[in-house]
Amino acid sequence: MNQYPAFLIIAPLLAACLIASAAWLRRSLCFPIAVLGLGTSFLSSLGVAARVLTDGHFQYRMGGWAPPLGIALEVDYLNAPVLVAVSGAALVSLIATRQIIEREQGPKAPVFYTLMLLAVTGMLGMTATGDAFNLYVLLEISSITGYALTASGDRLAPLASLRYLLLGTIGASFYLLGVGLLYMMTGTLNMADLSHLLPALYGSDAIFAAFLLILCGIWLKAALFPLHAWLPGAYSHASHASACLLAPLMTKVMIYVMLRVMFTVFTPAYVFEQISLEGFVVTLASVAVVAGSLMALAQRNLRRMAVYIVVAEVGYMVGGAWLGNQTAWTGAILHLLNDVLMTLCLFLAIAALAGRMETTDFKNLKGLFSTMPFSMGALVLGAMSIIGVPPACGFFSKWFLLKGAIEAGRFDFLAALLFSSLINVVLFFRLFECALYSGDDHHGPGEHGHIEIHEAPLSLVASLWAAAAGILAVGFYSGSIVNNFIKPALM
């Protein structure tokens, strides 16, 4: 079946429209439609990945027009696993957060589902598209819905969301301007076509300006330190349901876009030979990793800690992408996939915990290992992955990143990664310490004391464990992922 790429992106869009209509007619239909839409999308992404494995790179021409006239979806070794990860994570987080959405949003829950689906449509579209301008449109879809999603939350959420909107719009505008410059210089918007036409123009200042503008735009959206100002507020004040969807996906998709721009639109030959930014960017990434970790260390709230971890992780991937050797690229791509899972697991766990307490301040976490063993168990797995303990997947991407840093001779980045791992150990064990200590005096509830297990809703816990199992599975099979997808992608 060769229509998988279309279904992959259209299914959530159609489902979103159907939900918005059904909301006025029969509300009970909304959630099943949403699951159906994302489920179709996930299955299609598996189909796409299977086809990539057999056929390699392929193209889906929208409207039957051949690029560069029309728009085509390009699926290759690089984005097939990203598609699977994004659609899978979106499905899991939709199922997980249903209770939260219904409780928080009440009658507006269908609207929330619609916004979620549209956001996912945008991200999947961005990942699959082969057209630079189309990417902008999809970026805006996921951003606009993202602004709305982050605005629902606590008292400060609208303010954080408005800041996100302003900065996000600057980012998107920079990207658009950069694409405009490219179009002006080449006359095409298609990525593959651009990569053919650009080498003749590599010396041009305009191309350099375009590259920088696109890069800055992406970094703003991906929250690379010091352009991260919007992220902590937006993700820590937003509703847990939105944070669970956006935090794992949005920054990662933007990192993917950066890789795409670096590899496909411009070529590594341009990025690493014509211009010499890599020294600066890797330093920036090292600073981002260290700063993100330190800021996470300064937090007294689990959720705020998690958002700064996201900032640090962005530094990992950007640094890996700019180290400029195969190993580091492998690490960056693998870490992108892993980070989707890790962040998903982390935020789902936080949502599960938050459902049973007022705030996720550390002081409220006492005794959670006894009362919420399953959520905390999954959180431990997520933490292991973020720290980088095998067999959790985070170890293996970190392995490649570290190795790439050594190969490139960038010991500052190496030190930053190790430092951040160490900080992560401190972060999470501080947390576990709180959760392990019952808060009662010395001997706690004793062997015979009855501990009431007070878990989050089943759907949430089940999804959380799905994410945690994913962490282990990806960890065990990361060799195959590298061999089958990432290596050919870097050929």
Partner: protein
Amino acid sequence: MHEIVSIRPLLAVIASLAVTPILLSARSPNVREGWTFAAGAVKLGIVLSMLPAVLGGNVFCFALTEVIPGIRLAFRVDAMGMLFALVASTLWIVTSAYSIGYMRGLDEHSQTRYFCFFAIALSATIGAAFAANLVTLYMFYEILSFATYPLVTHHQDEEAKISGRKYLFFIVGGSVVLVLPAMIICHMKAGTLDFAPQGFLAGHVTQGLATALLLLFVFGLAKAALMPMHSWLPAAMVAPTPVSALLHAVAVVKVGAFSVARVLTGVFGVDLLAQYGLGTLLAVLASITILVASFIALSQDGLKRRLAFSTIGQLSYILLGVALLTPKGITGGLVHIAMHAFGKITLFFCAGAIFVAAGIKNISEMKGLGRRMPITMGAFFIGSLSVIGLPPGGGFISKWFLALGALESHELAFLCVLLFSSFLNAAYFLPIAYNAFFANPPDDAKDAGIQEAPPWCVAPLAFTAMASVWLFFNPWPFLDLARLAAAQVTGG
């Protein structure tokens, strides 16, 4: 030497892991502990089933998925791993029995959690013993660190909290910051991480790099407690005594020492170490640790703290033995893993039993205790002999081989270190036993009669004490395994 592909190593590793869900959901403590014993028996059975073939010079292999191109999670059971696995799985059963007595005797809290993490820790230990390459070893090493953290901080008071932090800082910090880069450099230089009997780094590294790697490994594997990476060990003594017993006699510290031994032989290789003179470097480091730890132990009053510093010193015996790079020395180092385990676990069991029965933690309060607790203190005496290295304790065997190894390598300085530290060992252990039996007890406890700990406590310690003695007369299979392993790594 045949390679036998078999799933048995994997089964041995997961035997104890598999029961954790059952342990978690078990309704009554008896069911829970029944399953613990069942898992222990199965594990020991699987390990034993591989013993004859391994003694015959064969190797069991089993590979899981490929995690990094060219590197698989894999198990490989050779003589060295077998030796360690055998010690760990035997002592797990004994410790489980002891735990039941200790935990119930003190009515400790969260016993289910305790037994679960105990099981996970054991899986990780066996996994480390059977690891076929550095990544697998590292994985189980880290899992062990994580699984033992809740055990160390079991008491959940302020002291436990601080100790737990220290424990993690040294162990996880060391492995992440030092070992991980060292592994990556090895992989870059040699292109493989699979342990080879003669090491795989030879010909790939210069002397400077080899020295740097060696230091990264021996300090990064902080569980081996080579000074100055030792200070987590006394701190971790806040754990309940069975935990201390298992952790500091068998699982954690021995995984550290075993890992270092594995890295020295399987990664560097004896020839490379000898060529660059790295064995001497490590032997000097180990000697310093042995002497300093022994001196510190002399000044400790807390019984468990004295045992902890004794452990630090004894671990470095193992390192010293391997660092001598001679077949006799390596045999002595490896067999010391077993001998010290049996001796030291006896001592810890005794310390726990004394605490359960008499509530005593300090050595100065133990005067005349031998009259109230004759079995316990008798076992303590035997354990002391073994650790000091006097016959009829099993420790004599390993010390004997260590001394032979030192002679063989013509390094008389190390022989002196061994002898002098044995003297120090005697100086800090024997007075305890002497005081317990011959000093006058404090007045209030003069005629209390015999007050032993519960049978669940006493039986295990009596068993390990007898095992220590028995190992002196019949060190099979540990000595054979150690000899075989030494022959394999030295290419003899």
